[in-house]
C-alpha cells in the first residue's frame, strides 16, 4: 500500500477538467470530464458535492457529513473514498 494522500488537514479539490453536477436524466450526481461521465452512488455524491461546494479540510468535511447523517461513524469510509477518487484522478489534495 502506498502512503495515504489525504490527512485530516488536507484540502480535497476536484481535478482540472472535472465537473460535478446533478443529472435529472440519470437521477444521480455525476462527474463529467473530457468525453466521459462517472455516475456516482449517493454516498460518493454526498462527499463530492461538499468538495465541489467549498474548499475545506478533510476534518471539516467529515464533521459536516456527521451533522448531515446523524453522527454516523464514517471517517474510515470517507478516507477510503478520497483515496479511491484520487487514484481515479477525480480529485487532488491541496
Amino acid at each position: 500500500m502506498s502512503e495515504a494522500i489525504f490527512k485530516a488537514d488536507s484540502v480535497p479539490v476536484l481535478a482540472q477538467g472535472y465537473r460535478f453536477q446533478w443529472e435529472p436524466a440519470q437521477d444521480c450526481n455525476v462527474l463529467l470530464y473530457p468525453e466521459g461521465m462517472v455516475k456516482l452512488n449517493p454516498a460518493a455524491g454526498e462527499i463530492l458535492k461538499r468538495i465541489n461546494d467549498k474548499k475545506q479540510t478533510v476534518a471539516e468535511l467529515i464533521a459536516e457529513l456527521k451533522v448531515a447523517f446523524n453522527g454516523a461513524d464514517l471517517d474510515d469510509d470517507v478516507y477510503q473514498f478520497l483515496e479511491e477518487a484520487h487514484d481515479n484522478s477525480w480529485i487532488r489534495a491541496e
Binding site: 463529467l32 468525453e35 466521459g36 456516482l40 460518493a44
Partner: protein, 397 residues
C-alpha cells in the same frame, strides 16, 4: 456508507474510433451529441471522415436551430457535446453556441485543428464556459517538416499551446497517423513534449469518407506499426506523470472489430451541418437511410422512432457469424459502415473480425497498400485532398 460504485463512460473522440463506454443497464439515451457545425475547413486533409459529397451541403443550421437541438438532446439526457466539423471555429456564432450549451449543463468539448486559435479566442471560449479543447494537428509529412523545422507555423502552434494552458485547459493533442507520417512518430512526440502536451492521442486513420478513397496511399505497413508501437511505448514510460500517450492499433490489423459507437443508436447522436441526424458520422453513406432532419422532426422522434436509429439496434438484424457469436454483446458485430463499404451488406460482420467470411477483404486491402507503397514514387496514385473542388468532381453535381 459505501464508497463510490460508479460507471465510467468514455466516448469516442473526434476521429471515429469508439472506446469502451458501458451503459448497458439503462434505457438508451443520447448521452453524446456530436454537433458537426459546418463543413467549412481551412485544411484539406486526405484522411478526413467527412462525406465525399460535402460540397453539396449549402445551408447550415442557424444559431437558433442548433440551440434547439442542444436543448432537446439535453432533456433526453445528453451530457457531452462535441463541437466538430469541418473546422468549428469557422462558425461566427461559436462562442454563442458554447455559452448556450454550457448554460444547459453540457460538458462542452471543442474539436479543432487549432488553425486560427489564438489567446483572444481561447479566452473568449473560456469566458463562454467551454470545458475542454482538443487540438487535432494536421500531420502530413510536409506540415510536420514545417513544424519540426521551426517555421511560422511552428511558432503559432507554440503560442496557441501556451494560450490553451494559460486559460487553465489541459493541452490535448491528437495526431492522425497513416503510412506517410507514421515513421515520424518520434518527431511528433518530441513536438508534443515541446508543446508541453498533457495528453497525446496517436489516432490511426479510419477508412471512411476521404480516407477510404485514399486507402491505398494511407494504409500503414506492419513493420511501420511495430516500430511506431515500440516508440510510443518508450515515450509512455519516459513521460510517465507528465504526458500521457495513447496509441491505438489500426483495426485493419486487429482480429476483432471495434465496438463501433458502442452500439448503433445506443449513446451516440451526430447532427450534421444541414441538420441530418445520424447514429454515427459516417452513416450517411449507408443505403436505405431515411436521413431524418432536426428541422422536420423532434430529436426525440428521431432517436426513438426513426427507422435509421432503429435499423441496427439490438441483435435481431445480425447475420452469421455474428448472430450466434458469444462476443456479439461486446463488439455489436463491429462497424456497420465498414461492413457495408467492404462487403456491400451492412448486416454482415465487420470484416475486421477474423471469424468473418469476408476477412480476406481486409488482408487484401493491406496488401493493396503494400503494392502501392512499393511502386516508384512517380507511379504512385496521388492523394486526393478534401476540398470543395474535389468533392464536386467526385460526387457529381
Amino acid at each position: 456508507m459505501t464508497t463510490a460504485g460508479s460507471e465510467q463512460n468514455k466516448a469516442p473522440g473526434s476521429i471515429g474510433g469508439a472506446t469502451g463506454m458501458n451503459v448497458r443497464d439503462q434505457i438508451r439515451q443520447p448521452l453524446w451529441l456530436l454537433a458537426e457545425l459546418t463543413y467549412s475547413c481551412p485544411l484539406q486533409c486526405p484522411y478526413c471522415s467527412n462525406p465525399m459529397d460535402f460540397a453539396k451541403v449549402k445551408k447550415e443550421l442557424s444559431t437558433e436551430e442548433w440551440i434547439s437541438v442542444f436543448k432537446q438532446a439535453r432533456e433526453m439526457g445528453a451530457t457531452q457535446l462535441g463541437f466538430s466539423g469541418g473546422e468549428p471555429m469557422t462558425r461566427p456564432d461559436l462562442v454563442e453556441l458554447i455559452k448556450a450549451a454550457r448554460d444547459l449543463g453540457f460538458y462542452t468539448n471543442l474539436i479543432t485543428s487549432g488553425v486560427g486559435l489564438d489567446s483572444t479566442k481561447v479566452a473568449e471560449f473560456k469566458e463562454a464556459g467551454l470545458d475542454h479543447i482538443q487540438v487535432s494537428f494536421q500531420a502530413s509529412s510536409e506540415d510536420l517538416n514545417n513544424l519540426i523545422a521551426g517555421t511560422d507555423a511552428f511558432k503559432h502552434k507554440i503560442e496557441m499551446a501556451k494560450a490553451v494552458k494559460a486559460n487553465g485547459y489541459p493541452m490535448v493533442l491528437c495526431f492522425v497517423t497513416h503510412r506517410q507520417n507514421i515513421d515520424q512518430i518520434d518527431e511528433i512526440l518530441d513536438l508534443c513534449i515541446e508543446l508541453e502536451a498533457d495528453y497525446v492521442e496517436l489516432a490511426t486513420t479510419q477508412y471512411y469518407g476521404w480516407a477510404m478513397h485514399n486507402r491505398d496511399q494511407l494504409m500503414p505497413m506492419k513493420e511501420q506499426l511495430n516500430r511506431a508501437e515500440a516508440i510510443a511505448h518508450r515515450y509512455q514510460e519516459e513521460q510517465k506523470g507528465k504526458m500521457k500517450v495513447y496509441y491505438v492499433v489500426p483495426d485493419y490489423y486487429e482480429e476483432r472489430p471495434k465496438a463501433c459507437m458502442n452500439g448503433w443508436g445506443n449513446i451516440f447522436l451526430t447532427v450534421t451541418p444541414d441538420g441530418t441526424a445520424l447514429p454515427c458520422h459516417a452513416a450517411r453513406e449507408l443505403p436505405g437511410m431515411s436521413l431524418p432532419n432536426v428541422k422536420d422532426m423532434s430529436v426525440r422522434e428521431i432517436w426513438e422512432g426513426s427507422d435509421d436509429f432503429n435499423m441496427f439496434r439490438g441483435f435481431e438484424w445480425m447475420t452469421e457469424p455474428c448472430r450466434s457469436c458469444d462476443e456479439k454483446e461486446k463488439d455489436f458485430g463491429g462497424c456497420r459502415c465498414q461492413a457495408f463499404m467492404l462487403t456491400g451488406d451492412a448486416t454482415n460482420a465487420d470484416p475486421v473480425c477474423s471469424k468473418s467470411p469476408h476477412h480476406h477483404l481486409i488482408e487484401e486491402a493491406v496488401e493493396a497498400g503494400r503494392l502501392e507503397s512499393e511502386k516508384p514514387v512517380i507511379e504512385q496514385k496521388p492523394l486526393v485532398f478534401r476540398n470543395p473542388k474535389n468533392s464536386k468532381q467526385i460526387a457529381g453535381k
